[in-house]
């Protein structure tokens, strides 16, 4: 009987994917959401919190937060804390460029927070043509900051012809930080 009930679906989602802004400081060639600048009508802090309230009431267990670059939102930490305080776990994706010491402190001090940093090559020569000049160095700096604080993050790489030969190096790079390497397929959407 309960199988029939299961087929009717769940009362609420288990998790949600939330693109908190289209604003981004990089212009990656394969960007899934073709992000560049914030669009008119993006949620205000209060509107975003009202949504989180609804998800908490539905008992959504966690949210996958992306964008755009989520850290470009000035209220990003406020919104994520609001979510965590309301019993919703947070997993967010970042390009790492804005993970300064203060951001790293915040990340390392929160429970039930997962962070993945995007890197599309084991060297700047492979990564930067896709993600932009200087993006490799800045992502590595973010990784160092998190690793220094003992935070276990994930590295997300979109597998391409350009970086395929560096798979082993990417894996070594990740394990060097105690990080997990997550490989994603290229999705032909957005700017890709």
């Amino acid at each position: 009987m309960s199988y029939d009930l299961l087929r009717k679906g769940l009362e609420a989602p288990i998790c949600l994917t939330w693109e908190v802004t289209y604003e981004c400081n990089l212009r990656c060639a394969h960007c899934l959401s073709a992000s560049d600048h914030a669009r008119p009508g993006e949620l205000t802090t209060e509107e975003a919190k009202a949504l989180i309230d609804q998800w908490a009431e539905m008992k959504v267990f966690y949210i996958n937060v992306g964008g755009g670059e989520p850290l470009t939102r000035p209220d990003f930490f406020e919104l994520m804390d609001y979510s965590l305080d309301n019993g919703i776990g947070v997993k967010f994706s970042t390009n790492g460029t804005l993970v300064d010491d203060a951001a790293a402190d915040w990340i390392a001090s929160r429970n039930y927070l997962d962070v993945q940093i995007s890197l599309d090559g084991a060297t700047a020569e492979t990564n930067d043509p896709v993600r932009g000049t200087g993006s490799y160095k800045r992502a590595r700096r973010a990784m160092e900051r998190l690793a220094e604080r003992g935070f276990k993050f994930k590295i997300n790489s979109v597998l391409t012809k350009q970086n395929f030969h560096q798979l082993d190096d990417l894996y070594d790079l990740a394990t060097g930080y105690g990080a997990e390497l997550r490989l994603t397929r290229l999705r032909p959407s957005g700017a890709a």
């Binding site: 309960s2 199988y3 009930l5 299961l6 009717k8 769940l10 009362e11 609420a12 288990i14 008992k59 267990f61 966690y62 019993g87 776990g89 429970n111 039930y112």
Partner: protein, 92 residues
Amino acid sequence: MPVNIEQSYEVPPKVSVRNERFGGLVYRYDNRALLFLHSRPLVDFLKGLDGSKPLGTALEEFAAGRGLDDGQRRAMENALGQLEGKGIIREL
């Protein structure tokens, strides 16, 4: 592992429980484990489990309130033992 009915148990803060038509879902934030519970009484019991009394007492009171027979109560006790193994409940 059987539960210790002399001891109080709680659902730790890292665990969330919610109702579903088929029973309920349990989620552990720390390791992202998701469990499907196909028993509404078990879900209701977990949601009321606050560590205020020994587990055996809590189970007996719950069974009496719901009109569960001994077999059903024992089945819940066994299920709780499995949930303890998965970190969904813990002894205080």
